[in-house]
């Protein structure tokens, strides 16, 4: 065999090898009965992280009911409650998107409840801590007052915990010691500070927060860069110019994140929240800030495990039907295109193997719309094979020999396959990037499936033919 062909064959073998290696955990995991899987997921079996996550519609997950804390609303008229619930739902949807959880179910329930279902039981703790955060960002001035020493003495004597301080459940003795117009708040790094009891500026003016590399405190650390809108920037500038040399506490949900000293007037409304964040914490914090703050805090009142939205019975029936349909297609190709149809079938199987391996690799959630995307990518890949084989037949009919007919057939079929696939890939990429929920799930599998199908239909089948032509020197082609 010539060099080029050898290399191409090696590439195919490597791709298949890698795909099977990635797929193997899925076989182990999904051959377990569903109850066993849930049990193992609760026990944090490491296998969970090695398989394709399934969406809520296909495998069920955790069902949470949140109750709105009405005491934090200005009034409890139906209208106010309704608006707060709506606002909170938007925020929760944003946060869940930021978590990368596909097709979560978020809906209003009753008057003051929100029901949330998230696929997979695994990681629901983390999700809960993120969903329930109010994300109230405030800037408050730090009051350096000698009273703080006394207060801290009392705090340690009384065994007051930071959460007591946050909720304002302070013993009377300590409350008496607080200077007028101040409040005691815990710091993220430990310890307490006295701050003004009114926020100078809130996250209402926040335009965007993002994770940034490096900060003024530590080299190579991470920080959260924030940017305020025009109005916020003006206020921030006024605030900083009036309080040079004071410390400004950046408070998130009543916890002081950092309290840098104001060195000079800060125009432009940009700043940094520094602290010893690891990458995950920084990303989470930025996500929470960007998703806006809850109108009122919420607490979990119900938590349970639920089955798939589509119902186990439908999923079983659907899986069977798809298998039957797929087998019929495989059979038809062999009947209609004989040996060449067999090659096309091999390419289809290859496409499925690679697609699911990549889905496992990038941890893309598989949902019902996602399966629709897989079906379409397979249909288009069958189409690509049909186009190629019809072309080869046309070339053979013109009296060209096997090798030449194959070359010509592929050459002439290529532009149609390319344009059809690229058009759909671009549209799918757009749906994935800008769509939500079901539309997103459809976009990702379609995009991946088509990209892979270009590789399997055009590149891989051609190599099969080339190797076969090289080894057997066929006089005739069965097509």
């Amino acid at each position: 065999m010539n060099n080029k062909l050898t290399w191409k064959t090696i590439i195919i073998v490597l791709v298949v090898g890698f795909s099977l290696y990635k797929l193997y955990p899925n076989f182990l995991w999904y051959s377990l009965p569903i109850e066993e899987r849930q049990e193992q997921a609760k026990r944090k079996n490491p296998l969970v992280r090695e398989v394709i996550p399934l969406g809520l519609d296909l495998q069920g997950g955790v069902h949470l009911v949140y109750q709105l804390d009405l005491s934090k609303l200005p009034d409890v008229s139906d209208e106010t409650v309704h608006r707060a619930i709506d606002q909170n739902m938007i925020v929760i949807n944003n946060r869940i998107d930021g978590l990368g959880v596909a097709n979560a179910f978020v809906a209003r329930q009753g008057r003051e409840f929100i029901v949330i279902q998230m696929p997979g039981v695994y990681g629901s703790e983390e999700a809960k801590s993120i969903i329930g955060k109010t994300a109230l960002l405030e800037f408050r001035l730090v009051k350096d007052d000698e009273a703080l020493v006394k207060i801290l003495d009392e705090v340690s004597k009384k065994g007051v915990r930071p959460e007591d301080v946050v909720s304002g459940r302070l013993p009377e003795e300590i409350k008496k010691l607080l200077p007028a117009g101040t409040q005691l708040l815990p710091q993220r790094e430990g310890g307490y500070l006295l701050v003004t009891d009114k926020a100078e500026l809130t996250g209402k003016y926040l335009k965007q927060a993002r994770v940034e590399m490096g900060n003024s405190m530590t080299v190579g650390g991470l920080s959260i860069g924030f940017e305020l809108d025009a109005e916020g920037a003006t206020l921030f500038e006024a605030l900083t110019s009036a309080h040079i040399n004071d410390r400004l506490a950046i408070v998130l949900d009543s916890m002081i994140q950092s309290a840098p000293r104001i060195e000079s007037r800060i125009p432009g409304g940009r700043g940094q929240i520094t602290g010893s964040f690891n990458a995950q914490e920084a990303k989470t914090l930025a996500n929470i800030l960007n998703s806006g703050n809850l109108q009122a805090p919420m607490s979990v009142v119900e938590e349970r495990t639920v089955g798939p939205e589509l119902g186990e019975d439908s999923i079983r029936a659907g899986a069977k039907a798809m298998l039957v349909g797929f087998s019929l297609v495989i059979l038809f190709m062999v009947i209609y295109y004989k040996f060449s149809g067999l090659l096309a079938d091999a390419a289809l199987l290859l496409q499925i193997i690679i697609l699911f391996a990549i889905m496992t690799w990038i941890k893309a959630t598989m949902t019902m719309p996602g399966i629709a995307g897989v079906i379409l990518s397979l249909a288009m890949s069958v189409d690509a094979n049909v186009i190629i084989m019809e072309r080869i037949r046309e070339e053979l009919a013109l009296g060209k020999d096997v090798k030449y007919a194959i070359e010509e057939g592929y050459d002439k079929a290529f532009s149609a396959i390319w344009d059809g696939n690229v058009t759909a890939i671009l549209a799918a990429a757009f749906l994935f990037q800008f769509g939500t929920g079901p539309v997103k799930g459809f976009g990702i599998t379609l995009m991946l499936g088509l990209a892979i199908s270009m590789f399997t239909c055009v590149f891989a089948t051609k190599i099969f033919y080339d190797v076969w032509v090289f080894l057997r020197r066929p006089k005739t082609l069965s097509i």
């Binding site: 029901v115 495990t305 089955g307 349909g325 379409l376 186009i387 149609a416 059809g420 549209a427 539309v439």
Partner: protein
């Protein structure tokens, strides 16, 4: 299907190949009037269906009532489903909660009060699983839509954006905006008519149906582009023939591919009819959509472009 003996000079073809629709020479452009008439009829039927019947959106879009019902021993979910079907309930979703032997049923409220629905549902279940169902539901609550206005808007904007992407890409590749416009027009034609049919048949528009319509859109544009490609190629090889003959020849040359691909797609979509009631609508939308899609590819898309070319020359 027929077997044809290999062409005279195909000495390199092994044995006899099964062949469909070989060397046809149909004047598709000439059938313009019939095609336009049929499309117009279907579109009007779609509009009529949507205006008269009105799309019935599923609970994901409308919200409704959520009931949680406990059992002593949880029966298989398909039995519960068929029990509710027999009780005349439509468009509900069922979720099991194995941990406490209960189910969550989400139903559309319709005209009934919460109490009526609850009573009816319990009665239905008790008649099928007497003694197994708890007397009172664990929870009855109003539940809002999952796909609220904002999410639906976001999805719609993403879909419209992707259509624009298609128009632009196809227009660039075929060096004329009309190709992009007609490609998307054919796609919209297929999806709209299919949607209209589902509405007309009182099928509920669920997320599964939305997924089917997206799939159909992708199938439709790919189908059309393959014929466009053949026209492009034939224009390059420029024989001495009229534009009309060239277009007709392109459709005929790709006819076997179009029909075989559709046939294979139909095999798949009709298998899904046996995939339980959740997939039934997916199968119906796909099967009908593929038929419409192939028809519009063969009978409408190229004809429209020919019409436009003629108008430009006139």
């Amino acid at each position: 299907m027929g077997f044809s003996s290999p062409p005279q000079n195909a000495q390199y073809l092994k044995g006899v190949s099964m062949q469909l629709f070989k060397n046809t020479n149909i004047d598709f452009i000439g059938k313009k009037v019939y095609c336009y008439g049929l499309s117009l009829l279907l579109i009007l039927a779609g509009i009529f269906g949507i205006l008269k019947v009105g799309p019935e959106m599923s609970i994901e879009f409308t919200g409704g009532t959520l009931l949680q019902i406990g059992f002593k021993e949880l029966p298989p979910i398909d039995q519960i489903r068929s029990s509710l079907n027999e009780g005349g309930f439509e468009g509900f979703s069922l979720q099991t909660q194995p941990a406490d032997h209960s189910i969550i049923v989400r139903l559309k409220q319709g005209q009934q009060s919460k109490e009526d629905i609850t009573a009816r549902l319990l009665k239905t279940l008790q008649s099928s699983f007497s003694g197994n169902v708890k007397e009172l539901p664990d929870r009855v609550e109003f539940v809002g839509p999952v796909i609220g206005k904002k999410l639906a808007m976001d999805a719609l904007i993403a879909i419209l954006g992707s259509l624009l992407v298609i128009v632009i890409y196809v227009a660039i590749r075929f060096k004329n905006w009309i190709w992009g416009a007609v490609g998307v027009l054919a796609l919209a034609h297929d999806v709209f008519i299919t949607f209209g049919l589902l509405v007309f048949l009182h099928r509920e528009i669920t997320l599964v149906v939305i997924a089917a319509l997206l799939t159909l859109a992708g199938y439709s544009i790919n189908d059309t582009i393959v014929i466009f490609d053949r026209v492009r190629e034939n224009i390059r090889s420029s024989r001495k023939e009229s534009l009309r003959d060239l277009y007709n020849r392109s459709i005929n040359e790709t006819l076997s591919r179009t029909l075989i691909t559709s046939f294979i797609a139909l095999i798949t979509s009709s298998s899904l009819f046996f995939g339980g009631e959740v997939l039934f609508d997916f199968a119906a939308a796909m099967t009908f959509g593929i038929l419409i899609g192939s028809y519009s590819t063969i009978g409408v898309a190229i004809t429209l472009i020919h019409q436009w070319e003629m108008a430009r020359k006139a």
